[in-house]
């Protein structure tokens, strides 16, 4: 490092501060971007029917949809935790042929349009689907148009968030603790349960919150796979969409509730990450 670099420009260390005065070509688009992201939310607050809001939000339909949304999102998160954490561990801690392909497949629902996910679920688990047909004939289980179907759709869309988040945390965690535990006689599962899991708990929690928020906002896969029936499969996003056509004020009120939930989630996550770091 002592030999002089050939290029006159010295590499900038993170220490060097940005000099005051932001260049205009950066400032303008930056402000534009900020306005673009904030303005719609401001509009939602400005146009909210504050006066009739209590009446809007005490309607039976709203509570029905909100309750269903909270229950299904929580159930979907539970499913994602039970299936997703072991999957993340597998991706982070073991080597097997085709691991990269598996990871790509796991992350696919992240970028897949939710409606496409819904169609795929219908073709797999629908009454006439590849697996669904067999479920129907053997156990009489049909998932579409049921609350369980909503949970399936939401879990399908939300689980990748959790897997990615937990896998990242596992990779960052030092595997030597687990190795130490196993050399001291713990089985691999015990080491995972007593050492690894407590270590990555903040990451798991953050991933779970992300997955929960994603499940709460899920629209496309739900309406495609589970249909739309008040109290059974009509979650908040579905009722927002429907209300917009008949009663815009109600749609805005419902949107406000979802916005409040999102902000709460974000605030909660910040604290988590603060605690984690």
């Amino acid at each position: 490092m002592e030999d002089t670099p050939r290029r006159p420009r010295t590499p900038r260390t993170p220490r060097t501060r940005l000099r005051a005065g932001v260049p205009l070509p950066l400032l303008l688009p930056a402000l534009g971007g900020l306005v673009f992201l904030v303005l719609p939310l401001v509009a939602l607050l400005v146009r909210a029917p504050w006066r009739s809001l209590p009446d809007q939000l005490t309607g039976v339909a709203v509570w029905q949809a909100l309750r269903l949304s909270l229950i299904t999102a929580t159930a979907a998160t539970a499913v994602a935790l039970v299936l997703g954490v072991p999957l993340a561990w597998l991706l982070a801690r073991t080597r097997f042929p085709g691991r990269r392909l598996v990871r790509a497949l796991v992350t696919l629902p992240l970028v897949l349009p939710p409606v496409v996910g819904g169609v795929a679920l219908l073709l797999a688990l629908g009454r006439n689907g590849i697996v669904g047909r067999w479920l129907d004939s053997a156990f009489g289980i049909t998932l579409p148009f049921t609350t369980a179907g909503v949970v399936v759709a939401e879990a399908f869309v939300a689980m990748p968030f959790l897997v990615i988040s937990v896998e990242g945390t596992l990779r960052a965690a030092d595997p030597r603790y687990e190795e130490a535990a196993t050399t001291l006689g713990a089985s691999r599962f015990t080491a995972f349960r007593r050492v690894t899991l407590p270590m990555v708990a903040p990451g798991v929690a953050a991933g779970a919150v992300l997955a929960w928020a994603r499940a709460l906002g899920e629209f496309g896969a739900t309406i495609t796979f589970a249909g739309n029936f008040p109290g059974r499969t009509q979650t908040m996003p579905l009722s927002v969409y429907l209300a917009l056509q008949s009663d815009p004020a109600a749609a805005i009120a419902l949107s406000l509730v979802l916005l409040a939930v999102s902000i709460a989630v974000l605030a909660g996550l910040r604290d988590r990450w603060m605690a984690a770091s």
């Binding site: 290029r7 049909t142 579409p144 148009f145 249909g227 739309n228 499969t233 056509q245 815009p248």
Partner: protein, 296 residues
């Protein structure tokens, strides 16, 4: 003297990736710039289109090619009820053939959501809805020009699986337990009509889903996810052999009128009027009749 070797290898490894990354970022910038330009150009185009018609209803004195009204050009945007999909698509092709230089672009969906997007300012020329009620939403919002005209009527039918394995013969059969039925949402004309027919017969029916538009209700039967749905005769026709239609007498009490109207802020009013005339013409009525629509 091993350090020089390293210092030689360092620059070798140093600048190159840096250079590459700089190149890449430049390419990315260029791409982004291109996108931005294209986006700006597009919006400019579209705003130019919609701005062309002006806000006065002097559609005859349209800026642009000040030729006679014989020569139509540009795009006609038609918002039409989902049940009109097949017949309107074919009429659109006819229109484009008759008037070279024009293009008809369609937005098919539930009449209520179409009406909602029109009243919130979607740039459409023509609205064809499946019920006077959804059309009224548009006329009440002063978004239509002139009075809407009824151009066809449509009757409900039960769509069942091919071969009718559940032996559905009447509307009452749908209320039996163990049957999965999809209906249109009550906001959509086909849902309102189905509700009217059910009420008329004094029946209560709990579906498994309220679909967004009639095609959604039909698709659920085509995919065999439900045993039956209440849709229009025309949809059963359009589905070919994928579903089987069952007529029921109560549908007589719930026949839908389909109104069509030119919209007030139509970007291309001239061509839009010509398209509406085609729909109402004998030729248009023939196409619609073949699809299973009733005469107004």
């Amino acid at each position: 003297m091993t350090t020089p070797a390293r210092s030689v290898s360092d620059p070798q490894h140093g600048p190159r990736p840096r250079l590459r990354s700089r190149l890449r970022s430049r390419q990315a910038l260029r791409a982004v710039g291109g996108f931005a330009l294209a986006a700006v150009a597009l919006t400019a185009c579209s705003s130019g289109d919609s701005g062309g018609s002006g806000d006065s209803d002097g559609s005859a004195t349209k800026s642009g090619s000040g030729s006679s009204s014989k020569k139509l050009s540009g795009t006609v945007t038609v918002f039409a009820a989902a049940s009109l999909k097949e017949s309107f698509t074919s009429l659109g092709k006819t229109f484009e053939k008759e008037h070279p230089g024009t293009k008809v672009s369609f937005n098919f969906g539930g009449s209520d959501s179409l009406a909602a997007s029109i009243t919130s300012g979607a740039p459409a020329d023509v609205f064809a809805s499946a019920s006077p009620k959804t059309m009224k939403t548009v006329t009440d919002a002063k978004a239509a020009k002139g009075t809407p005209a009824t151009f066809v009527r449509n009757q409900l039918e039960i769509a069942t699986l091919p071969g009718n394995p559940k032996k559905i013969a009447t509307l009452k059969d749908l209320t039996g337990s163990g049957l999965k039925v999809a209906l249109c949402a009550k906001e959509v004309p086909c849902g309102a009509a189905a509700q009217k027919a059910l009420d008329g017969a004094g029946l209560k029916l709990t579906p498994v889903s309220y679909e967004q538009d009639v095609k959604g209700a039909l698709t659920k039967v085509e995919l065999k996810e439900v045993d039956a749905s209440v849709v229009y005769k025309t949809d059963v026709n359009a589905a070919g052999g994928k579903v089987e239609g069952v007529e029921f007498p109560e549908s007589k009490q719930a026949i839908n009128d389909y109104p069509i109207a030119l919209l007030k802020n139509a970007p291309n009013a001239e061509a839009a009027t010509a398209f509406i005339d085609l729909v109402k013409s004998a030729q248009g009525q023939k196409v619609l009749g073949q699809a299973g629509f009733l005469k107004p």
